[in-house]
């Protein structure tokens, strides 16, 4: 009896060990590094690199792969969701707060010259150091927008100084002008003009005035030259000393007042408009779709009356349709081509032919006269949505909300666009709710979940035949179920659900199944 018990216990233990090993082989491990080179992934044990640590648990529960905040003390950057080991190995400072809600990562407004950046204090120090400026970090500014708006350029003016035998001038800020003066007092300095030395130390600053102001009596005069300035949109006049003057306005070239005081872009010609290809006005605005560029024949529509620079139109034309700079719109692949506009919209009639296996949605962007194609996620897990406000089109890729379509029994609920992307169908008395953008499946893999989903569109139709004595079989009931048109309609219903049924792919090639493969006929004879 005792021996029997021992044998039973041994068998029980062996089965237990076998079951545990079977389960553990499927348990997810946290691999510090995988065999394919990724750090900190939940993977099968066999995919954990043998040279690194592993644990039969989720990475979040391990010490080596716990995610936190990695602070780069040199550059002042904070990177979220970084495993401790990677951060420390790369000489970063790691903190368990994975959202980087730590004092070192507190953001503030960093003013660097006339630019602003919403960064950490360490980053601000680093940037100020890189640009040779003193740190100006404002913790009281709490948002990026507020920060950018707070960036103001220092007041500029004419910095007048003597050079050799002439009185010349440089448009600059008071601070820069004072620095010139300070350097000049120490016995001559190189000015900002290359290879010219200032021998006199008398430097005077005239706030808000242009170097071409007649009162200043400098050697700088109006010129017919124009230019683009880095970081600014507009075309500017240049004076004969190479200084930036006011915004290019051909009508004011001969106006002495226009060459006397600095004018804001808001006071200049065509403010609040794009001034695209204008021959006379260079008040370009990036947000209105123009920017200063050197005139190019064949690219720009009109040449400027004065100078070589123009407000270039940054809009685009795609498939004969004009899009403004910054606009975005949707497209879908059909027959291997990107289709936009009306052809990209969906209704009950074209649903089956639009969401073919392999097809996907795209967002197209018009930026800087160029169309940028941005695919939404594959398998139609994302769709592209588009809207228009005052004629301005904006599109976005967002998740396809088809998951609860088949469980809707009411047309109103089914087509509630706030909640889901579904469409109500009524085909030959087969009614239901189906995804508006039928999802794609990886049907070449063994995915039973998708197969099950396709089966929800199975339809059973019982046809009744009678045969009189000595006669032939005659269809009495549901006879349409044998028609090709009925089969096609039912196949379309399959297609609504996803990559089910018989479909051509997005390039038009026939899929795995033909219509005949989907149709099973069974005869039951009754007396």
């Amino acid at each position: 009896m005792k021996k029997n018990n021992l044998i039973k216990l041994a068998i029980f233990l062996l089965i237990g060990i076998f079951l545990i090993s079977l389960i553990s082989s499927q348990v997810s491990y946290c691999c510090e590094k995988t065999t394919y080179g990724a750090w900190c992934q939940n993977e099968e044990e066999s995919k954990c690199s043998s040279s690194f640590q592993k644990a039969p648990t989720s990475c979040e529960a391990t010490s080596f792969c716990r995610q936190g905040c990695c602070f780069n003390s040199q550059e002042g950057n904070c990177i979220e969701n970084t495993p401790q080991k990677i951060c420390m190995e790369k000489k970063g400072l790691w903190n368990a707060n994975s959202n980087c809600e730590i004092p070192q990562c507190d953001l503030g407004c960093c003013l660097i010259g006339n630019q602003a950046a919403f960064v950490t204090q360490t980053r601000c120090k680093r940037l100020s150091n890189l640009y040779g400026l003193s740190i100006n970090f404002k913790t009281e500014i709490g948002s990026e927008t507020e920060c950018i708006l707070s960036a103001t350029s220092d007041i500029e003016g004419a910095c007048v100084f003597a050079q050799e035998t002439e009185i010349t001038c440089k448009r600059t800020t008071q601070k820069e002008c004072n620095e010139m003066e300070a350097k000049g007092e120490s016995g001559g300095f190189f000015s900002f003009f290359e290879n010219t030395e200032v021998v006199e130390s008398s430097v005077e600053f005239y706030e808000g005035k242009l170097c071409t102001n007649a009162e200043l009596e400098t050697n700088c005069a109006p010129s017919q030259k124009t230019t683009c300035i880095e970081g600014e949109d507009a075309v500017y006049f240049l004076d004969t000393c190479g200084n930036k003057a006011n915004v290019y306005d051909a009508g004011k070239y001969n106006d002495q007042n226009y060459w006397a005081e600095i004018k804001d872009v808001a006071e200049s010609c065509g403010y609040g408009e794009s001034n695209a290809n204008s021959r006379t006005c260079g008040n370009c605005d990036y947000f209105y779709g123009t920017t200063c560029k050197k005139f190019e024949r064949g690219v720009d529509a009109g040449s400027p009356n004065i100078g070589d620079y123009i407000c270039r139109d940054l809009g685009c034309t795609y498939e004969g349709v004009r899009y403004e700079h910054g606009e975005s719109f949707c497209a879908v692949v059909a027959g291997g081509d990107l289709v936009i506009g009306e052809d990209a919209t969906f209704n009950e009639e074209n649903l089956a032919e639009k969401n073919q296996p392999g097809s996907r949605y795209f967002r197209l962007l018009c930026y800087n006269s160029e169309i940028i194609v941005e695919p939404c996620a594959d398998f139609r897990t994302e769709v592209c949505i588009q809207d228009e406000i005052n004629g301005y089109r904006a599109a976005a890729c967002r998740v396809n909300r088809w998951q609860d379509c088949t469980s809707q029994t009411d047309e109103e609920d089914c087509e509630n666009e706030d909640k889901r992307d579904c469409i109500w169908f009524d085909v030959e008395d087969v009614k239901g709710c189906a995804p508006k953008y039928s999802p794609g499946f990886d049907f070449w893999e063994n995915n039973t979940e998708n197969e099950g989903l396709c089966k929800t569109a199975d339809v059973e139709c019982t046809m009744e035949y009678t045969k009189p004595i000595g006669g032939s079989w005659n269809c009495e009931e549901n006879c349409e179920c044998d028609d090709d048109s009925w089969k096609t309609k039912m196949n379309n219903v399959c297609g609504y659900i996803g990559d089910c049924g018989s479909k051509n792919n997005y390039l038009g090639y026939q899929g795995f199944f033909s219509m005949g493969d989907l149709y099973e006929k069974e005869s039951i004879e009754k007396d």
Binding site: N42, Q74, L365, T381
Partner: protein, 255 residues
């Protein structure tokens, strides 16, 4: 007596010669600096010598690593159009947010560049030594370490090698050499870091936000079949490019 046709022939030859002289003049005018250096009569100072010797090598390295996520031989990458693009953030799971794979991107790229130009630096110093020895200088070169630094609008390589040149009674000493390559990689990396931060916390990025703010920047986001996103950052002015891959918050097929 000169034949009329001979005279015509002479004129033709003169015209041809004149055209050839003018053409030669234009060629010399256009390519003078290159011709000068290729003929070897450029009297470069040691700093200029190191600059011209190293800058192409640095550029070559930068051009190789920037389309590959900042790595010369990426260990973990997505193959996109035959280019191995390094994952900077990755999760193998569906729906989950990615784990940052390279938190110190700038530093990692600096060390990649450094490792790849190590032999070129040695070679250039050797060439510098032999060049000035050949020109009759007494050369004393102390080789030190060197550092690569990514900076706004440039990449700076600082060689802590000192050089002393003696010719007759004159001695010139150089304490270090600085080689600079104009490149906007620093700016592109800053953008990449910001995108990574969004990928790790929100799973995706709105590319237009960057293009609205940085006017010369083009941001392309190309979603691949397995959910990997290829980001291509291009400076429209300089055409400098930085590419990297990320896989975060992916919806499974049929989800």
């Amino acid at each position: 007596m000169v034949n009329k046709s001979d005279k015509k022939g002479q004129i033709t030859i003169f015209i041809i010669l004149a055209i050839m002289i003018v053409a030669l003049g234009i060629v010399i005018y256009m390519f003078y600096p290159q011709i000068k250096s290729s003929l070897g009569f450029a009297e470069q100072n040691p700093s200029a010598f190191m600059q011209s010797c190293l800058q192409d090598k640095i550029k070559e390295t930068v051009d190789k690593i920037t389309p590959q996520g900042g790595s010369l031989n990426p260990e973990f990458y997505y193959l996109y159009q035959d280019v191995k693009i390094r994952y900077l953030c990755y999760t193998n799971e569906y729906i989950s947010l990615c784990t940052v794979q390279e938190p110190m991107l700038k530093e990692s790229i600096e060390s990649e560049i450094k490792a790849n130009i190590q032999s070129d630096v040695t070679e250039c110093l050797n060439e510098l030594e032999s060049s000035f020895t050949g020109r009759g200088y007494q050369v004393s070169l102390h080789r030190g370490t060197f550092a690569v630094e990514l900076l706004p609008k440039r990449i700076a390589v600082t060689l802590n090698s000192s050089l002393s040149l003696k010719k007759g009674d004159e001695t010139e000493t150089y304490q270090e050499f600085k080689v600079v390559l104009n490149n906007n990689l620093y700016e592109l990396i800053s953008i990449a870091n910001s995108i990574l931060s969004f990928e790790a916390t929100a799973g995706d990025v709105e590319t237009t936000a960057y293009m609205n703010y940085y006017r010369d920047l083009k941001v392309e986001k190309l979603k691949q079949g397995d959910g990997t996103k290829i980001y291509i950052l291009t400076d429209r002015n300089t055409e400098d490019v930085f590419q990297f891959a990320s896989r975060s918050q992916v919806w499974s097929p049929g989800y």
